[in-house]
Every structure is written in structure tokens, then in C-alpha cells.
Symmetry: C2
Subunit: 215 residues, 2 copies
DNA sequence: CATAACATACTGATCAGTCAGTTTAGTTCA
DNA sequence: TGAACTAAACTGACTGATCAGTATGTTATG
């Protein structure tokens, strides 16, 4: 590369941001490349300089979604000791991310719909599902080993917890009528209730650094 | 009407069934009218005799979805006395319907995606959401009055329960990798756990929670 | 023989992707 | 220093394919 006017990364970011806004407004199929180009203020030819196809934009948008939101959450909660608190924190932070970056989550429904058509997108989604399932199942394992709680069927529980968060996302993306601050607080209570305690704990489940070490 | 070859109702049913299969395979935007016509074995002209537009087919499909699945469930559980059992039964029957008629539920994602584009579809969906929210909130009220359980924030709880079922639908429609029989059983346990008991019951649910918790 | 029910060729609009050309930033060399 | 050169970055008109909806014709039925 001899002389980029701005860095290739910046342009791609701009394109993705524009695409995100367009997809949110009209969905994937209804959004034209020209609209995306207009939205980020350059021409269609420029867009095709950075991305080979409309589908490639969508896929890269999903990649960014995963990297920037979900993996960040998983990193952030890594320092929390108790498995229970970590699980609760995932729900809380997901709700907060949803509040802050609703447009990105809107793209999820686009992915779901596209996955009917495109096998590669479906595979990407399934990989993510399996990944989150493993994460959560692992956390349930940790909590059980540490004696924090016991759940009878960890895999199903993990699936249902993920399902709940996903349902909240759907509802919010379509409607935006829920009070997310309220949801954020409630998710904590619900998650807690879903994890029956083996032994009595002192405080409300958050923040307590009891003697027993986590994972 | 002088002489229908088959009744108009039958034809519409056939068209909707064909559309349902097509939408499931390819999504709404990617499905052509010709494909739907081919799927139900007649021509495009015939389809337009019964429906004025592609969108009208989608909307009627949603109407059937609501009438045939969700309202039926609500009617069926009407005879159950205990509010708790009624709530649990909704979850169980929804899981069973999902198992039996996955194609119909697939159309839900199509509706969600279409609602970005079409305000009337969005309004239809929102009406349904509000309706189910009221139903569930009412059930929580009933249970509380009968002394079966107490939940601190009924509206949010209703929303989260609906969200969970919706998430299960998404997961199953996209992946079909969950054991729905297992889900059906687990949903019962999860729903029970989400309804903290006022008085001691025999079940293994997390009854050790005292009143003040979380939030 | 009237009309409901169905078939099919057509149209106008849309849109993803292409391509030939233009502009700008950086490099070379006198 | 700057003119000549080069390739990256960008433009926008164009194309070929697609498809919803229509127009017009055909067949079956009471």
C-alpha cells in the first residue's frame, strides 16, 4: 500500500457503522448497497473496494458484534470469583450492552433471517451458540464444584438462560418498550432464583467474597 | 360465487401452507410469488385471485399462527385451576407446539425481520406482545391473590418468562438441536423456580429464598 | 352462456455487481 | 524544489438478472 487517504480499517468501520444503521432501519434484504454508500458518504464503487459483496458486509458486521460485545463481556467478568456472581454479571452486562448499543443487536435478527438462506451464516451462528453453551455450562460446573448451587441438568439450564437473554434482545429490538434498567436489575434476581442454593449464604448474592474460592 | 372448484377456504389454506414452507426455507424477501405458486401446485394468477399481494399472504399467515397456536393454548389451559399450574402449562404446551409445528414458528423470525420494514406488521406484533403480557401478568396476579406465590415485579417477570419461551423458539427454529422433550420437562421446573413459594411445598424448587433478595 | 377460477406472457421497476475512467497521495529523479 | 510517474482510492453510469404485479386469455361449472 502506497498512500491510503485514511486507513483501510477506518473506512471499513465507517462502512459497517453505516450498514448497521441501514440494516436496523430496513432489514438486510431491503437495504441496497447504494443506501449504505450514501449513508457513509461515499460511492458504491468505494464500498466495493473494501468489501467484495453485500453479504461480506453482513458477515463482517456479525464478527464485530461478537468481538466487541460478547467477548468483551466474557473478558470483563473473568475477574469475578464466584461462579454465581459471574453468571449474574453476564446477564446484567448483556442487558447494559443492549441498552447502549441497540442497533448492533438489531442486526441479530437480520442474521437469523439470513441464516435461512445462507448455510455459512447459519454455521457461524451455531458456532456461537455452542460457544456460549460451553461457557455457561462450564460456569455451572464451577459453581457446583464450589458448592455454590446445584442444577439438575446443566446443559438445558444453560440453554434456557441463553434463551431468556435472547428473548429479551428480541423484545427490545422490536419494541424498545421495556425499561432496561429494570430488566437489568430483574435479570439478577431471576438468574439467582434459577440457581437453587445448596447452602445458606449470608448476603444478597452479589459482591460477597466468602472464604471459599471459586473455580 | 357460482362454482368454486374447491372452497375458497381450502385454497387459502393451501396457499398459506405453501408460503409457510417457502418462507421457512428462504425467508420472506427471498421467496418469490412464483415459488409459492409452484409449491402449492397452481399458477401465480390463481394466487392473486385469493390474495391481493405478497404482504397480504404474510399477514394472513401471522393471523393463522396466532389463532391456531397461541390462542388455542390459552383456551386449553383455561380449565386449569391453579395459576401456577396454568403458567407452567403454557410453557409446556408451547414447547410441544414448537415440536409439532416448527415451520409455523419459523415464520415468526420472518415477521420480526419484516417488522423493520412494515409499520403495520410491527403494530400487529406489538399488539400480540401486549396481549400476552396482560395474560401472564393477570395469571401472576391470580396466583398472588390465591396465595400460591409472590413475585415482586409482575410486569418484568411476565416479560422475562415470555422472553425465555421466545428464545427457545429462536434457538429451535435456527438449530433444531435441542431435545424438546427435555426442554418441555425443564421449562416446568424453571417456571416453578421463578415463582417463589409463599408457603412450603413438596417440590425441590429453590424455596430456601427468603423474601428479601436481589434487585 | 355467464362467471368463477385458473394460466401465462408481459411490463416496469429495482438492484447487486462491474467497469472504464478520474482524482489524490506518495515516490522517484533531475 | 518540483515535474513526471505510479498505484491506491474513488466515482457513477451501465448491465443483466430478478420479480411483483397486471393484462389478457382460457377452462370449467352451475
Amino acid at each position: 500500500m502506497k498512500g491510503p487517504r485514511v486507513s483501510s480499517g477506518i473506512r471499513k468501520q465507517q462502512i459497517l457503522a453505516a450498514a448497521k444503521r441501514c440494516f436496523q432501519r430496513k432489514g438486510y434484504a431491503q437495504t441496497t448497497i447504494d443506501e449504505i454508500a450514501a449513508e457513509y458518504g461515499m460511492s458504491k464503487g468505494s464500498l466495493y473496494w473494501y468489501y467484495p459483496s453485500k453479504k461480506a458486509v453482513l458477515i463482517d458486521l456479525f464478527r464485530v458484534f461478537v468481538e466487541e460485545t460478547l467477548n468483551r463481556i466474557l473478558t470483563e467478568i473473568g475477574s469475578i470469583r464466584s461462579a454465581r456472581d459471574r453468571i449474574v454479571a453476564i446477564g446484567e452486562r448483556l442487558a447494559r450492552s443492549l441498552q447502549e448499543d441497540i442497533e448492533l443487536f438489531s442486526a441479530l435478527i437480520v442474521f437469523w433471517e439470513s441464516s435461512f438462506l445462507d448455510e455459512s451464516i447459519r454455521e457461524m451462528l451455531m458456532d456461537q451458540y455452542r460457544f456460549y453453551g460451553r461457557i455457561l455450562t462450564g460456569l455451572l460446573d464451577d459453581g457446583e464444584r464450589a458448592g455454590e448451587f446445584a442444577v439438575p441438568d446443566k446443559k438445558i439450564y444453560a440453554a434456557l438462560m441463553i434463551a431468556m437473554m435472547e428473548g429479551v434482545i428480541v423484545r427490545q429490538v422490536l419494541n424498545k418498550d421495556l425499561d432496561l434498567e429494570e430488566i437489568r436489575r430483574s435479570v439478577s434476581g431471576v438468574m439467582n432464583r434459577l440457581l437453587p442454593e445448596k447452602e445458606r449464604q449470608t448476603g444478597p448474592a452479589g459482591s460477597s467474597h466468602t472464604g471459599k474460592h471459586g473455580s
